[in-house]
Symmetry: C2
Subunit: 322 residues, 2 copies
């Protein structure tokens, strides 16, 4: 049998990535009220980290023009970490000014230059210098940076397959930056931004990285674009990975990846179901999570990909018996 971790930590990205995706072409579709309502409901489930919204320029992403208003209105629950996404110093300044957020700060590069150019309009060199600026403003504000990350790590719709060595090279650049600025990068996240990964690739990648950096903590940001999402999570669990980004009801998708009809992030409640059934503690109440998933469907006004919200928690059938 596999030796799986005893517990995992989920980072809920649905309100940020999911709602951002839903609002493409119709920025007002998800009201500020709805955004706040879902964040507040998720706060009651046992989820320990919630990515609330992005602070990027409303000209680039008009659906997050209300970021400050959302920040003002959601209710912080003690014990829950609330984070926001920002891509530059101006974004960080805006997040900082709300006074509502925790920081899980990271240095992030992209494995695919073609994707990087289209997604954040930067070459690798420009990405590195942007990260320098980000590091400097974190230093000024005394916000520790503990995460490194590589996006589009498992393949790219614009560039094709991404060689494992390319991920390693990008990781080395991240660690060099970290050393230069005396950061303590304890953890690393790889993002399968466009849903290319398969379980064997996940294992191969993590095995190689663990050989080079045996003490590094590890997180994954996975999309279920082609149905392999939970199989990839399972393969990662077999390799000892304990942190996953996920989205309630499977909200989301990548607005820049060119497959708008495709599925979004791996689904939070489906991961919780699978883990709890295998004896892995998630700290999350599945029934409350299913209610949040139904709320997410009500908000977006259409069916979402999550399955356990439709199939139901098995504990309910077990309870009948006692």
């Amino acid at each position: 049998m596999s030796s799986l971790p005893k517990s995992i930590n989920l980072i809920e990205v649905g309100p940020r990535e999911g709602f951002q995706f839903e609002g493409i072409g119709d920025p007002g579709k998800i009201s500020t009220d709805s955004k706040v309502k879902l964040v507040d409901a998720l706060s009651e489930t046992g989820i320990r980290t919630i990515q609330v919204i992005s602070f990027v320029h409303p000209k680039a992403v008009p659906q997050v023009a209300d970021a400050e208003e959302v920040a003002k209105r959601f209710k912080r629950k003690p014990g829950v970490k609330y984070t926001a996404v920002y891509l530059n110093d101006r974004g960080l300044e805006r997040v900082w000014n709300t006074g509502k957020f925790d920081f899980d700060a990271h240095i992030y590069l992209t494995a695919s230059e073609a994707f990087s150019k289209r997604n954040i309009k930067r070459t690798l060199e420009e990405e590195v210098s942007a990260q320098r600026k980000i590091i400097e403003i974190h230093k000024e504000k005394k916000i520790p940076i503990t995460w490194g990350g590589v996006m589009a790590a498992f393949g790219c719709n614009l560039e094709g397959d991404i060689a494992l060595n390319k991920i390693i090279d990008r990781m080395k650049v991240v660690f060099e930056l970290g050393q230069e600025y005396d950061l303590n990068l304890e953890k690393f996240q790889l993002a399968d931004t466009m849903g290319w990964a398969n379980p064997e690739q996940i294992k191969r990648t993590i095995e190689k990285i663990k050989n080079i950096w045996p003490d590094l903590g590890f997180g994954l940001h996975l999309h279920d674009t082609r149905g392999t999402g939970l199989a990839n999570v399972y393969a990662a669990l077999e390799m000892g990975v304990t942190e996953f980004d996920s989205a309630i009801a499977g909200l989301g998708g990548c607005p820049f990846a060119g497959h708008r009809a495709a599925a979004g992030n791996v689904c939070t409640e489906d991961i919780v179901f699978m883990c709890e059934e295998m004896g892995i503690n998630t700290g999350v109440d599945l029934d409350k999570l299913i209610e949040c998933a139904q709320l997410a469907e009500d908000i977006v006004g259409h069916s979402l990909p999550g399955k356990v919200m439709k199939g139901g928690n098995l504990n309910k059938f077990r309870t009948y018996l006692f």
Copy 2:
């Protein structure tokens, strides 16, 4: 790294199980023409076995009242095996009389008696005597029976968790029946009829069975009711399982399991995608399969759960590069 099988065999059950499910409450919803069209399209994909339809009494399952007509009209393609489902001697007689089918005959028991009573209206003892009748009529017609099987093997909405020992006990009854009638049961299928299985349970179950019957071939019939379908397939691949039932576009569901909104069988093209990406040969053309999945959506008139049909074959992005 895991040592995965070099190739697998998929048994396409969408036209049988999927269309049967879709027609609940509206038996004429899927026209005979549509049924035939999907079977004929699947015949061109490289799939080696297609379960075409059930021959059960039209009073019990009115949506298969046209079984003989479907049998008459679909076109047999050389190299493809076409099977039908029957539950008793009268059903087998009807299948036989069409002259259009191959036989992958099996003895099948149900792990959950509560489910069995509701599903096929039989107690375990009645199931066993029904299997005797089935065996006898196969003997008369000289149709070999090579498969054993247990349904509801991983859990039951009516009975709750199913102990591993219960599966083993049922398997022993099947093998005793086999010995009594001098059958050569080379293969065994377990069905997760109501979508309870998780990857670790799949591994634990197969490991135990392999310890008892090391030379037994093994197949799984999995439902993706709670999102763990492909993770379960991956876990089974890690244990060397090489035969899977699956349904195009993820058609189906179990009409008797009490969760009509839930997802159906594991999705054929998503399995093919995952396997081919991991270097496991399925013998199936993914692009043709995606066309069949789109045809299935057109026929049922609503979105189906399959993901790679929306996310797309990755080879198309790779081809851009050369």
